[in-house]
């Protein structure tokens, strides 16, 4: 799941080297924290969060397959 978010983020930003993704496992839920360069924030969030929403939708589909609940936080 971490690799999925990392791959998407790296494909969208100008500075892929600064993409950092950490996975915080929990009993019922996995939290994925995504960090990018400050200049690239807009590239993973988008107008009215449209890009962030698309990332979450795709991650949700992947999570269904693994029967886990996943949230993506952009920090």
């Amino acid at each position: 799941m971490r690799e999925l978010v990392k791959f998407i983020a790296m494909s969208l930003v100008d500075d892929p080297d600064q993409v950092e993704v950490t996975e915080i496992p929990g009993d019922h839920m996995i939290i994925i924290e995504l960090r990018v360069a400050p200049e690239d924030m807009g590239k993973v969030i988008g107008k009215q969060g449209r890009i962030a929403k698309a990332i979450r939708t795709v991650v949700k589909a992947a999570a269904v397959k693994e029967k886990k609940k996943v949230t993506v936080e952009i920090v």
Partner: protein, 205 residues
């Protein structure tokens, strides 16, 4: 990527050879000149042919395919990805098992995948091509479903004279409803609310 090396009396001739071998337009090739031709004595003895290396340029469609292939691998779904590219559009079709997962509720996952692919492929330097992603004919089936829904609800509104507000839809789907009832004599349509909750309303004329 396909690469050939070819030679000819002149650089142009060598390039023509490469074009013939690869079967693609000159514009779609990157040409590297390996050797300039050397004229021999009397144009016969000791002359050397021109030599070029030609490679087929990576297109935005190639990038789209690569992006989606890797994305699906990470999601854990295997699919055959077919790409059709024109000057302003990249049409992609996915085939395989478990495509329902990639479509999602009312196509929301398919739309998200399409949007991310478009973002990954388009940029200022290369220009813009519209990305259209589909699987199992979902887009056409959805369009037909919406058209039927529009006609049915249009009839109901005309009969009851009560307006009906549809569920929220994206601009593309709203347009299908508007178009389906455009020439209806009894009802009219309009949209209200803000995206992503904007919805079509059908009312009597």
């Amino acid at each position: 990527m396909k690469v050939v090396e070819s030679s000819g009396k002149t650089v142009d001739e060598a390039i023509l050879m490469a074009v013939a071998q690869l079967g693609v337009q000159r514009d779609n090739l990157d040409i590297e000149i390996l050797e300039e031709p050397v004229k021999g004595l009397f144009g016969i003895i000791g002359g050397k042919d021109a030599k070029v290396r030609a490679s087929i340029k990576r297109t935005m469609g190639d990038d789209a395919k690569e992006f989606l292939t890797e994305l699906l691998t990470h999601i854990g779904v295997e699919a055959i990805i077919d790409v059709n590219e024109s000057d302003d559009r990249i049409s992609i079709d996915m085939k395989g098992r478990g495509m329902g997962l990639l479509i999602g509720h009312r196509g929301e996952t398919l739309d998200a995948l399409q949007y991310l692919t478009s973002l990954a492929v388009n940029n200022e330097e290369r220009g813009y091509k519209r990305v259209a992603l589909d699987t199992e004919n979902y887009r056409r089936k959805r369009e037909e479903t919406l058209k039927r829904l529009a006609k049915r609800l249009g009839y109901k509104v005309a009969k009851t004279r009560k307006r009906i507000s549809l569920e929220p839809m994206n601009p593309f789907e709203r347009r299908i409803i508007h178009t389906a009832l455009q020439s209806d004599s009894y009802v009219r349509t309009y949209s209200e609310g803000e995206d992503p909750y904007r919805r079509v309303v059908i009312a009597v004329k």
